[in-house]
Each structure stands twice: as structure tokens, then as C-alpha cells.
């Protein structure tokens, strides 16, 4: 069964450093998403991406964040200068079609710890 994969599973970084979280969506999917979950809190939407452009982003997704699909398989989330409050589990998701009623498949997540 096809699945979304994410690397690394755990990333530890120092405050102010740049991190890149990587995702490989399901191969025929066209729509890509990042969500995050701070420990003990709910899953929060960060950004959606289609056709090499951001479709929608939340207020969390400020200038410190960027996304890219550098090749035909990877989808990355970059945090330019990490803050302590960026510590969270980051989930990548993908879907085949656009819109609200299309199932999003989630990866296992990357746990980011900022020290």
C-alpha cells in the first residue's frame, strides 16, 4: 500500500539554526500539505501546495517558513531560524485531488526539538 514517508523521524537543533524536513508524498498525488502538532495540543494546518505554488497558508506559516518541491518526489519544509516554540511534531500529507472531500494521507511525522 502506498504511503507518505518523512525523514528524519527526529531532528534536534539549536535555536537559530535552519532545518529542512523532508517528505515523499504518494507518487500520483498532486496536493501536498504540512501540519504540526505541539506536544499535548491539536494538529494545526501550516500550508497547502499545488503545481509548485502555495495554495493556502495559516498565520503560523510566517516568513521563517518555506516549502519546496525540488524534484518529482520530495516535498520539503524549511524553517530558516528555528525558535524554541517551533518544537513540535511536523506531519506531511498528500491527496490525489483538490478540495475538502479528498482524503489526505499523512506521514508518520518528524519530531523537531529546538534547544
Amino acid at each position: 500500500e502506498p504511503e507518505v514517508t518523512q525523514t528524519p523521524s527526529h531532528q534536534v537543533t539549536q535555536m537559530g539554526q535552519e532545518v529542512i524536513l523532508r517528505c515523499v508524498p504518494i507518487s500520483n498525488h498532486l496536493y501536498f500539505y504540512w501540519y504540526r502538532q505541539i506536544l499535548g495540543q491539536k494538529v494545526e494546518f501550516l500550508v497547502s501546495f499545488y503545481n509548485n505554488e502555495i495554495s493556502e497558508k495559516s498565520e503560523i506559516f510566517d516568513d521563517q517558513f518555506s516549502v519546496e518541491r525540488p524534484d518529482g518526489s520530495n516535498f520539503t519544509l524549511k524553517i530558516r531560524s528555528t525558535k524554541l516554540e517551533d518544537s513540535a511534531m511536523y506531519f506531511c500529507a498528500s491527496s490525489l485531488r483538490q478540495g475538502a472531500r479528498n482524503e489526505q494521507f499523512f506521514g508518520p511525522g518528524t519530531r523537531l526539538t529546538v534547544l
Partner: protein
């Protein structure tokens, strides 16, 4: 207005019992209401979803009840099994006209089913 409120935070049920998790929303533009199941170390996985034009949807032991006028929906797990022990998230999303698939999640419910 974008919030989805979920209760209870945690739930303990005996094997064979019924587990009930409730969610409420405010945004009337939401038109898709999925439930996600998450096991430790895994990303959320779609369990069952409903649209507001029906009041109930059943898939095996899992049933969503939807009350459009009250803006509430709930997940019922019949004959709960220890293997159902997981975190459950309700979510909501807008139509394809207003949303690129952004999911708004509830806070999550940790379900424990005792054998």
C-alpha cells in the same frame, strides 16, 4: 469561528462497550467532517468521514452522527476492542470553492479500551 471543539480529552471503555466522542463547530462553511485515528509513532489515518447532507454514516463498528442545526457531530465505536485504543481526532474542512483542503482539527481524544 474556525475552531472545532472535541470532548472528552480521554476516555476509558471496557471491551465490548460503546465509545462516544463528540465534536462541535461554528463555521457554517465547513462541509466535510472526517475522523482520524492515530496510533503512537504513526501519522493520523482517515477512519470515516461525513458530509452535512446526511445525518448518519456507518462503516463496520464505526458510526458518525451529524446534527447540522446544532453544528455537532460524534463518533460512535460499537463493540470497542483493545485494538481500538488510539487517539481520535475530529476535523472539518470547507468546500472545494473555499478551501484547498485545509483541515481544522479538534484537540483529540485518547481512547483506552480495557480487555
Amino acid at each position: 469561528q474556525q475552531q472545532v471543539k472535541q470532548s472528552p480529552q480521554s476516555l476509558i471503555v471496557q471491551k465490548g462497550g460503546i465509545s462516544i466522542i463528540n465534536c462541535a463547530y461554528e463555521n457554517t462553511a465547513f462541509d466535510y467532517f472526517p475522523w482520524y485515528q492515530q496510533f503512537p509513532g504513526k501519522g493520523p489515518a482517515l477512519l470515516i468521514a461525513i458530509r452535512p447532507d446526511v445525518s448518519e454514516k456507518k462503516e463496520g463498528r464505526f458510526t458518525i452522527s451529524f446534527n447540522k442545526s446544532a453544528k455537532q457531530f460524534s463518533l460512535h465505536i460499537m463493540d470497542s476492542q483493545p485494538g481500538d485504543s488510539a487517539t481520535y481526532f475530529c476535523a472539518a474542512s470547507g468546500s472545494y470553492r473555499t478551501s484547498y483542503g485545509k483541515l481544522t482539527f479538534g484537540q483529540g481524544t485518547i481512547l483506552t479500551v480495557h480487555p
